[in-house]
């Protein structure tokens, strides 16, 4: 009985203590288990400071938790934010929430380019702008750097490890790489392009299998650093570290360490810190009624041992 009285007291208190604090920017990311999103969160924080705005950020437990992310999105709308900055887990899972945000006059921002313009159109969802890395360009940068190392006349088999099958980001990077490579060095032939599902172990297995089939392999391009790091270990285990050039995408901390150690050859670094920071600054502009481009591409940077050792590249400041 005593317990019940306590509960009732707590409830009575709750009514008096509850204070509304509406507004601010809602930032919904995928999962903080990935350092990429951690760096972006840091950028958001600094951007909010710079723009002088309040924000609240949330993420879900994994980058496949589509429904939980939708539920969190709905919950965030309850706080009546001024803007909804979202990195959707796939191109459709947040649409009902974003439509509601539209209806409430909340500005919607596509963080990291996960939404599909055509689907947005057919769903009747309007976004203020989309901001992120240009994944096709990132793949192409990888190819450019590879050719700068091997020369335009180089020949030999090349392996491409794609992301999760069907994932648009991985596809764009692989396509950008393949197109640029065919353009710059037709002698370098892509002998296999296989989905590594963003999985380090799977990428290592693929690298092993292709090395068996093509012992003269000259290069591997992986659509993210995790997979590139798996592949590079397989290459070194096979004793072909000097023969095979391995390139990843992301520029995450593990990759930077591996590059410094002279294992991974290069990583096309995204700058999530810059993406997060600029997203907040630009949405503040959009809310003030200033013009903001509908698609904003944040630059990517090829990280190599030489670039890291020299440390003169200004964009290096944003590599976290």
């Amino acid at each position: 009985m005593k317990r019940m009285t306590l509960i009732a007291a707590a409830l009575a208190l709750s009514v008096s203590a509850a204070q509304a604090q509406e507004g601010g920017y809602a930032v919904l990311m995928k999962t903080l288990a990935n350092p990429f999103w951690g760096a972006m969160a840091q950028g958001v924080e600094d951007g909010a400071k710079e723009a002088g705005v309040r924000y609240f950020a949330q993420a879900v437990e994994s980058d496949q938790a589509a429904e939980p992310q939708l539920n969190v999105c709905n919950t965030m709308l309850q706080r009546k934010p001024e803007a909804m900055i979202t990195a959707a887990i796939n191109s459709t899972n947040l649409l009902p929430c974003l439509a509601q945000a539209n209806a409430a006059g909340v500005k919607v921002v596509d963080l990291d380019g996960n939404l599909d313009p055509e689907i947005l159109k057919s769903a009747g969802v309007e976004i203020a702008f989309s901001i992120g890395s240009d994944n096709v360009a990132a793949g192409a940068q990888g190819a450019e750097w590879l050719v700068s190392q091997l020369g335009a006349g180089a020949t030999g088999p090349v392996l491409v490890i794609e992301g999760l099958s069907g994932n648009i980001t991985g596809q764009k990077r692989a396509q950008g790489f393949a197109a640029k490579l065919a353009d710059l060095a037709p002698g370098l032939e892509i002998v296999a392009s296989l989905p590594g599902d963003w999985d380090r172990g799977k990428a290592a297995t693929i690298a092993n299998d292709i090395l068996t089939r093509h012992p003269d392999l000259v290069a591997i391009f992986a659509a993210n650093d995790g997979m590139a790091l798996g592949a590079v270990e397989a290459v070194h285990a096979a004793g072909k570290g000097a023969q095979v050039t391995v390139i990843g995408v992301d520029g995450n901390a593990d990759a930077v360490k591996s590059i410094r150690d002279g294992r991974l050859n290069a990583s096309v670094a995204q700058l999530p810190y810059l993406v997060g920071k600029q997203a907040v600054v630009d949405v503040a502009k959009a809310i003030r009624g200033e013009a903001v481009a509908p698609v904003i591409h944040v630059p990517t940077l090829v990280l190599t041992k030489a670039v890291l050792d020299a440390g003169t590249e200004p964009l290096l400041a944003y590599v976290k």
Partner: protein, 331 residues
Amino acid sequence: MARFALASIDHGWTVAQRVALERAHVRLESLVVLLLLGGVMAFLSPFFLSVGNLLNILLATATIGILAIGATFVISGGGLDLSLGSVMGLAGVAGAWTCVTLGLPAPMGVAACLGAGMAAGWINGQLVTRAGVPAFIVTLGMLGLARGLALVISDGRVIYGLPSGLVWLGQGRPFGVPTPVFIFIFAALIAHYALAYTRFGRHTLALGDSEGAARAAGLRVERHRRALYVIAGLTAGLAGMVFMARVNSGDPTAGMSYELTAITAAIIGGTNLFGGRGSVLGAMIGALIMGVLQNGLNLMAVQSYYQQMAIGAVLILAVFIDQRQARGARA
């Protein structure tokens, strides 16, 4: 208002209400925990006690709640279904594929979702009862099979753009309440009645309590068990349909590890993991406890990692209280 409801639990229960609660196999403690949690959340976040937010909680709980119905039936009958989440993903893809890729009308999409779920459940039941493979293994295998098939059918991609009739099932708001909430409550009421008040339900609990005794009493044990797996599959199909309609697309990764959350809901609600006891209403309260916990923590912008810890702790606490009371009752 919440205060009034709690006070009535304290003092106002009539004998008839207590009996009704007991017959429904709902533990008073779980209801108290739910209301207490609601009170704490309302105290901590000013956004909690709005109609919009309470509807959000029901909407967010719908898929897990529907799966928890299936988990309750199978588990209280002495079985286990680990494939619920994967089958949910498969069902959504099957429905979207039927409507988008084949271009068939909305009712066929619904049929595809429910049919895919029941088919998976039927296969589970056949393998468990006829091939004699343990339920844990069969449904663990189905977890992989269904997920893989969903990825194959969809080519790993989200299948977008359902007919408007189907979308209404997920995004419609008749009387201002989201359609999935109606589907969820309707399914829960039917299932609760079936488990608590019908012969089928009594047989299920008898089977879970002691297969030998149920057999000796003349129950067709294998047939009944198969029916339970089909019911579980049906709930997975329904949950898949609801999520598919909500996001207007078939997502092959939908429902990842939901089977464990559904089982957690059932157990928090008082279902015995080894069968013989179970309540659908209890499972709904279990699912709502998790829903309220998640919603409240989300409103306070608490990192999702802590949410998982909180739910794990609630599960252990619920079973601990249950065990202690069971010992107390024997003593």
